[in-house]
């Protein structure tokens, strides 16, 4: 692990938080403008029981939306890989769509599908879907040629070649797509909740903001950051496990 190399940035972060604390005391900044870190921490402890259901709602949103995106992304990439004509038609749209922030479609989805969970699943899944599909297709497209040659010479069927070679060979690519998508999926969920929901970190945020409870907004921000990192970390760990065959320095 590279824990040792992390102490410098960690120290810098601590100093920044200390300066922030000092500045709010020194310049007597209004708490509704910028609360001190200590105030935010206190608020977090107090508000946590009320906040928890919102947090769980967002976690559920992300988990359901994101796992559908993974499954769909891999299936669609597989289909596009099997049918080259379909791939030729769809690929330009896939690439262009990556440059459109899918969140702009959120209001439309709300109109079409109401304020329930479904339109939000759809938004999260769509945002994550494209990078995962493209990375997976990319992985299928660059199958190791020596291994492919072996499979051909051995007379492997198309199905065997796909499941025994192309799919496992694409796993690192699939994970690179998943990791890109994972970094912003919590954020997407929170923004989607701004547009209307019963529960969720985004709802908690807008409610707190409209009543100028700034420290609560900060609580929501901090939790969103922590969740994003945790989510990314989860897939980092999964990737480590799925690619454990890669040479791990010295070990074993």
């Amino acid at each position: 692990m590279k824990i040792k190399s992390l102490w410098k940035p960690a120290l810098a972060l601590l100093i920044a938080i200390a300066l922030w604390e000092l500045a709010t005391k020194l310049f007597q900044i209004e708490v509704w403008l910028l609360p001190a870190p200590s105030t935010i921490a206190q608020e977090m402890v107090i508000v946590f029981p009320a906040f928890l259901p919102h947090m769980l709602a967002t976690i559920k949103l992300v988990l359901v939306g994101f796992s559908s995106a993974i499954v769909l992304g891999i299936i669609v990439a597989t289909l596009l890989h099997i049918f080259p004509t379909a791939r030729e038609i769809v690929m330009p749209f896939l690439i262009i769509s990556q440059n459109i922030p899918t969140i702009v479609l959120a209001p439309l989805f709300m109109i079409w599908f109401g304020l329930g969970d479904f339109p939000k699943y759809l938004i999260i899944a769509m945002t994550a879907f494209f990078p995962i599909t493209i990375a997976t297709l990319d992985g299928f497209g660059q199958t190791n040629r020596d291994l492919m040659h072996y499979m051909q010479m051995m007379g492997a069927t198309k199905k065997q070649t796909f499941f025994k070679l192309q799919l496992p060979d694409a796993v690192p690519s699939i994970f690179s797509g998943i990791k890109i998508a994972a970094t912003y999926s919590v954020m997407t969920a929170v923004v989607a909740e701004w547009l209307g929901a019963q529960k969720g970190i985004g709802v908690f945020m807008t409610l707190s903001a409209s009543s100028y409870r700034t420290s609560r907004v900060f609580v929501a921000i901090v939790v969103t950051i922590i969740l994003s990192l945790a989510f990314f970390g989860l897939f980092l760990a999964l990737e480590k496990w799925f690619t454990r065959w890669k040479r791990n320095e010295g070990a074993q």
Partner: protein, 242 residues
């Protein structure tokens, strides 16, 4: 098993690579194909493996035409081509798995005999070059096909490992009833291993000579030092020069 290569011709574009190549591999025979780099040896394997279609000529297995059909031979490529996400054991079983007859006990037994017993659960990235080649050969041996084609399997190894591997290969193969077609550009290797050495010329490749090697089996490294070996080596060198 009998493999017959009959008047095979092949070109890439305008360039003629193989011209009128014919030879036969009998049951249980070890046949080497000796030829300079770029002469078309790998191309010949691709034709036998069925992933290329010859311009002319036929490939018969037990008198049945298998031209342009894959899956009739087991194959060991020049690079070990082990699947990095599979353990040694899973790699060894791949060939038989493709044929639908994976037998784990047999694979473990053969890996143990190849001195890889401790590495069964290791991944290819943890193996040395020689170990990888042994796994690749075990994989080829476990595949059910009666003919194994090896494309310069030891050319990337250092000379010590290479000698060791040649002896190991012979010992392992002798316990089996399989025929081997072996590509090499190493004269000593061809003589030490084979019953027949087929010498190819370049541009385009044709069979220059087919030499029957008379050494008795089992063979060991003493053979390399014998007068007889030197005599045959000279013969092959002369045949190559012609």
């Amino acid at each position: 098993m009998t493999l017959q290569i009959q008047q095979l011709h092949h070109s890439f574009g305008e360039k003629k690579i193989l011209s009128d190549v014919s030879f036969t591999v009998e049951n249980g025979e070890f046949v080497s194909i000796l030829g300079p780099s770029g002469s078309g040896k790998s191309t010949l394997f691709h034709l036998i493996g069925g992933i290329l279609k010859p311009e002319q000529g036929n490939i018969l297995l037990n008198n049945r035409d298998i031209t342009n059909q894959s899956g009739h031979m087991s194959y060991m490529p020049q690079s070990p081509s082990l699947f990095p996400w599979r353990t040694v054991l899973q790699n060894a079983m791949l060939g038989s798995e493709l044929a639908g007859i994976a037998d784990e006990a047999k694979a473990i037994d053969l890996l143990q005999k190849a001195n890889l017993g401790e590495m069964i659960q290791a991944y290819p990235s943890q193996l040395s070059g020689g170990m990888k080649q042994r796994v690749a050969f075990v994989r080829a041996l476990l595949s059910p096909q009666p003919l194994i084609c090896l494309d310069e399997p030891f050319s990337a190894l250092d000379s010590f490992t290479k000698k060791e591997m040649q002896q190991w290969l012979l010992k392992t193969w002798e316990a089996y009833d399989k025929s081997i077609l072996f590509i090499t550009h190493d004269i000593e290797e061809a003589l030490f291993l084979s019953d027949h050495v087929i010498i190819l010329s370049t541009n385009p490749a044709t069979v220059k000579a087919s030499i029957k090697v008379p050494f008795k089996r089992p063979r060991d490294e003493q053979l390399f030092l014998s007068e007889e070996f030197l005599h045959w080596k000279r013969k092959v060198v002369e045949a190559l020069k012609e």
